[in-house]
């Protein structure tokens, strides 16, 4: 008999025990280890995914911040550029103004220098001319220069035009005080007399005369009353000389020079 029933029963029992042993020592631990590992891997994957999403979020945030920063930088840059341009414009304007002021100052200084130079030239010329004229007159005649000047003044008085004469006569007539005669040098009594006579004759003046010495006059004589004036002076010739010198230098206009040399000419009776 090939089948031994005791052995069959024993093998059934053995097999059942083996099933229990295998479950206990092999399947359960191995499957638990596999499950634990799978769970761990799944957790790690989930963690990695979470980290990846976190990294993605942070990257997006960083990108967003970067864009914001770029915008701010651009805005600040444009603001700064505008400010710099404004400041540059202002500084340029200031520099231009300062330069203009400096130039104006220099021009003014130059004009002043030129004016002083002109004055100096005029003064020296006057002195020289006066000296030459005096010397020449002394050489040519026996009368003194003063006599000639008085004669010249009297000729001037007599040569006044009708319109001016009428105006001057009216002025002499309405004069409250004495007629003022100014001269560079003290006039002798004869010449004073001559002036008085000529004045009374030409302008029908009845009042008194007052004689004064004025070194400011350039070798001349002036007769003024009630705001009107009749004058003869070497200054007239000097003025012409100065004008010629000014034209030569081409700096100052003749009108300006005229104004500087004869500020009260506008009120004069003889022009």
């Amino acid at each position: 008999m090939l089948i031994d029933w005791f052995t069959v029963i024993a093998q059934v029992v053995n097999f059942l025990i083996l099933v229990w042993l295998m479950k206990r020592f092999l399947y359960a631990p191995i499957l638990s280890a596999i499950d634990a590992r799978e769970k761990r891997i799944a957790a790690e994957l989930a963690d990695a995914e979470a980290k990846q999403s976190e990294a993605q979020r942070e990257r997006d945030e960083f990108k967003h911040k970067n864009e914001e920063f770029a915008l701010q930088r651009k805005a600040m840059l444009s603001t700064a550029t505008l400010e710099v341009q404004t400041e540059r414009q202002r500084l340029l304007e200031e520099a231009r103004k300062a330069s203009e002021d400096l130039r104006a100052g220099q021009e003014e200084a130059m004009r002043t220098d030129f004016r002083n130079l002109g004055d100096e030239i005029m003064r020296r010329s006057r002195d020289e001319v006066f000296a030459i004229a005096r010397k020449t007159l002394d050489d040519l005649a026996t009368e003194s220069l003063e006599e000639h000047m008085v004669e010249a003044f009297i000729r001037r008085c007599r040569a006044v035009g009708d319109v001016e004469k009428t105006a001057l006569q009216a002025a002499f007539k309405t004069a409250a005080g004495p007629a003022l005669v100014r001269s560079t040098f003290p006039l002798p009594a004869a010449q004073r007399k001559a002036i008085e006579l000529a004045t009374r004759e030409v302008f029908a003046f009845e009042g008194q005369f007052q004689f004064e010495t004025s070194p400011d006059l350039v070798s001349g004589i002036t007769l003024s009353v009630n705001g009107y004036e009749v004058a003869w002076s070497i200054a007239d010739y000097l003025l012409a000389l100065k004008q010629n010198v000014g034209d030569l230098l081409s700096i100052q206009s003749p009108a300006e020079e005229q104004k500087e040399l004869h500020p009260e000419d506008g009120a004069n009776g003889h022009g």
Binding site: T7, Q11, V12, L18, L26, I30
Partner: protein, 231 residues
């Protein structure tokens, strides 16, 4: 010549006897249990693990996948029984290369015992899954007339299961024994190698057939899909 290790009796007391089948079965049980205990005693759950653990994991996962491929929805529920069937038959066949070892599966008593286990377990799983009435109703399908044939089929397949394994294992042993007397040197070694292959195939066939029987006994709830293999 002894046809079965049952005939090699170490100790006997009346009906109770201690033959080679039982002794070698115990030896196999000891190897399997102690080996499993040693390997699973220091299991690593991390990515780094020992070679033996890898081997055991491969074996266990392969058996689990095989059960699932047959169509059972919860392979771990059946892994204890079917996996042990496979391991027992396979290790018994592998151990034939050890001189003096007699595979317990070469005993018709052992194969009958295993077939009886399958014979008992199949309806147990079926009843657990479908209930008592539901399971026995399957014997009346497709018609009542088929009841005796179904019962005969149930018994005959158990018989076939046991005899198939016994025949293959015993014949391998017999052929090697005969060849040793005729051509003692090279040819028995080739046949031993062939026997190893045959043993592995028989282990696979035995466990897969057991799985198929269980799958056939399960209702639709227990199956992943319609059973592909039918006996």
């Amino acid at each position: 010549m002894q046809l079965s290790p049952d005939e090699h009796i170490f100790w006997q007391y009346g009906f109770v006897k201690l033959n080679a089948t039982i002794v070698f079965t115990w030896a196999l049980m000891l190897v399997l249990a102690v080996g499993s205990k040693i390997i699973t005693g220091k299991l690593a759950t991390g990515l780094k693990r020992s070679r033996w653990q890898n081997l055991m994991e491969i074996v266990v996962v392969a058996m689990e996948n095989q059960i699932a491929e047959v169509g059972l929805r919860e392979p771990r529920r059946f892994l204890g029984f079917i996996g042990t069937l496979f391991l027992f038959v396979a290790i018994a066949s592998l151990c034939t290369i050890i001189p003096g070892f007699k595979p317990p599966t070469g005993s018709l008593s052992t194969t009958v015992a295993l077939a009886l286990c399958v014979f008992v377990v199949v309806p147990l799983f079926g009843i657990e899954d479908q209930g008592l009435i539901g399971y026995f109703k399957s014997y009346l399908e497709p018609t009542v007339i088929m009841l005796p044939f179904n019962i005969i089929g149930e018994i005959s397949r158990t018989l076939a299961l046991s005899v198939r394994l016994f025949g293959n294992m015993m014949s391998g042993e017999m052929i090697i024994g005969i060849l040793l007397t005729i051509t003692p040197y090279i040819f028995p070694i080739v046949m031993t190698l062939l026997g190893l292959l045959t043993g592995m195939v028989q282990a696979y066939i035995f466990s897969v057939l057991a799985t198929v029987y269980i799958a056939a006994a399960m209702g639709d709830q227990g199956l992943k899909q319609e059973p592909e293999a039918q006996q």
